[in-house]
């Protein structure tokens, strides 16, 4: 294992210290319990947005704390959900009297820990609503599984719900828009290599030189299927099919197309993927109205990418376009 780290146990805490030093204009950090909070929080009368989850997905979630997006991010150890204590503390820190929305990726650990924190916050009189993000179409049937995972679509939920909170929507309305974004978002990911979790010291899985994983998550879990490497265009075609079938997206739809890097794939490849995805969508009469390309929801140094399609309407487009000022996503100010 080769990494620019000190002790594997300190990876997340030291990285958060780095975030604090690099982005002190945007965020403040609580070191114990560990969470990142928007500078100036709580904002009186504004719904507070808290998200979090295991580390190793940076810039998710810490890079999205700031104006128009999250009020706090709670990082757990690498790939491990945080415990209720820091989630509770972050919830308290961002409560401006209008309640707090928890945005939780659908993993058993995240759901249970946020649930406990929400219960504890509720017991202290803070109104908490929870939106579970589960945009990953690779996981088929929630009757027989832990349900679809929350993956790259989480960024879109955080951005759009953040804009709704920023314009003054109440807790119900913010939760409603977050739920809607999640309902209209579908993602599929693939991996060319596995990540190496620092404390594990070895890659999470092994792939031959000509193999890729289809339907991968963001925690080094193997995907549902392993296939031979194909040209990028063929892989993109394979990825788009289950996404477009699932909602289903139809000719005339306007969408946001998001090509997300898993951390170790160069931007040049992400743009090649984007190009093909946009081509296929155009052929189907689907209009790419907004775009996002880059490493936003990663899995350490894993090579791979995911494609996310969000069906837009006027409200979602307006909220997407609204100003945002965070370390990893910024426009309009």
């Amino acid at each position: 294992m080769k990494k620019l780290i000190n002790d594997p146990k300190d990876v997340v805490a030291e990285a958060v210290a780095g975030i604090e030093l690099a982005h002190g204009d945007l965020v403040t950090v609580s070191h114990d319990p560990l969470y990142i909070v928007r500078k100036g929080a709580p904002f009186s009368g504004k719904v507070g947005l808290v998200s979090g989850g295991g580390g190793g997905h940076e810039p998710l979630h810490g890079g999205f704390v700031g104006f128009g997006m999250l009020d706090a991010a709670v990082p757990g150890p690498i790939f491990t959900s945080p415990t209720p204590d820091p989630i509770l503390a972050a919830t308290q820190a961002v409560d401006g009297g209008a309640g707090v929305l928890h945005i939780v990726k659908n993993y058993t650990g995240d759901v249970l820990n946020f649930e406990t924190a929400a219960d504890l916050a509720g017991a202290e009189g803070i109104e908490v609503r929870t939106v579970i993000v589960d945009d990953d179409v690779a996981v088929k049937d929630s009757l027989y599984t832990a349900g679809r995972r929350g993956v790259a679509g989480t960024v879109l939920v955080e951005k759009i719900a953040g804009a709704a909170a920023e314009r003054g929507d109440d807790l119900d309305a913010v939760a409603h828009v977050a739920t809607k974004v999640n309902a209209q978002t579908r993602t599929l990911g693939i991996a060319l290599t596995a990540p190496t979790v620092p404390h594990a010291g070895e890659p999470s899985f092994t792939l031959a030189d000509d193999e890729i994983e289809i339907g991968i998550g963001i925690h080094g879990e193997p995907g549902r299927e392993r296939i031979k490497l194909e040209p990028a265009d063929a892989i993109v075609d394979r990825m788009l099919e289950p996404i477009l079938e699932d909602l289903p997206f139809a000719s005339g739809d306007e969408i946001l197309l998001f090509v997300n890097g898993m951390g170790g794939t160069p931007l040049v490849e992400l743009y090649i993927v984007f190009r093909r995805a946009a081509e296929v969508l155009a052929e189907k009469g689907i209009t790419v109205k907004r775009t996002l390309v880059g490493n936003y929801v990663t899995s350490l140094e894993m090579q791979g990418a995911s494609i996310t399609v969000l069906k837009l309407d006027d409200e979602l487009t307006e909220l997407w376009d609204a100003p945002v000022q965070t370390a990893a996503l910024r426009w309009g100010r």
Partner: protein, 228 residues
């Protein structure tokens, strides 16, 4: 015999020891069908528990120690196993209440409450390839041993044997809860890490009870003469 605070704290220390010894094995199991952190998670949790155990007041009863484990695991483990095992210990603590000494029935109640706690949070059934596949056979075997008139050590040994068989039984099946469920058929042939760690914890209970019992038999540490 019955089992008191000494046994519980011995059990906890032994749990920390076996989890640390099996840390890499549990990480490896979790790497294969999960995300590779299970051994790290529990090791972090039980290391924290060890650190707090010395602060336990001398007049503590078993329920106090179990509650300490519960709150410490909940606030240090994270992931799925933190809330699940945390709740198990919390409910176990509730089941034994302020009782200073646990007889066979209390031991069965403890195990049952622990299992029920996991089910309450995680909604898993036997056969879903989770830690429940270790806990439920353990509870059943313990209850059967109690009904058969076995003593506390024998009850825990029956539970540990059943938990180990239960962990083994997760190998040939697909998962319906936890991360392994994302894998479909590809999870077949791999043991569920949580069932393995739960089997280790229950075995630690049996081993320390047996040691407690034999040292009690030697009269070296037990001041309670009621050993069977």
């Amino acid at each position: 015999m019955s089992l008191g605070i000494t046994w519980v704290t011995d059990w906890i220390r032994q749990s920390a020891r076996v989890i640390s010894e099996h840390r890499v094995e549990l990480i490896t199991l979790d790497r294969e069908i999960g995300d590779g952190d299970h051994g790290e998670n529990l090791d972090r949790g039980f290391t924290a528990v060890l650190g707090k155990l010395d602060d336990l007041p001398p007049d503590s009863v078993p329920g106090d120690a179990l509650k300490l484990v519960a709150t410490t695991l909940i606030s240090t483990v994270g992931g799925a196993s933190g809330p699940l095992l945390g709740t198990a210990y919390l409910k176990a603590a509730g089941a034994v209440g302020k009782e200073p000494e646990l007889n066979g029935a209390a031991i069965v109640a403890l195990l049952t409450a622990a299992r029920d706690g996991v089910v309450l949070r995680g909604k898993a059934e036997v056969g879903d390839k989770t830690m429940i596949d270790a806990w439920t056979p353990a509870v059943d075997a313990a209850a059967a041993a109690l009904a058969d008139g076995k003593n506390e050590v024998e009850i825990l040994q029956a539970a540990a044997d059943a938990a180990e068989k239960g962990a083994e039984s997760t190998e040939p099946i697909v998962a319906r809860k936890g991360r392994a469920s994302y894998l479909g058929e590809r999870a077949i042939g791999h043991r569920d890490p949580g069932s393995q760690s739960s089997a280790l914890l229950i075995r630690a209970a049996a081993d320390t009870a047996a040691a407690d019992d034999s040292s009690a038999g030697e009269g070296s540490s037990a001041d309670d003469g009621s050993a069977s």
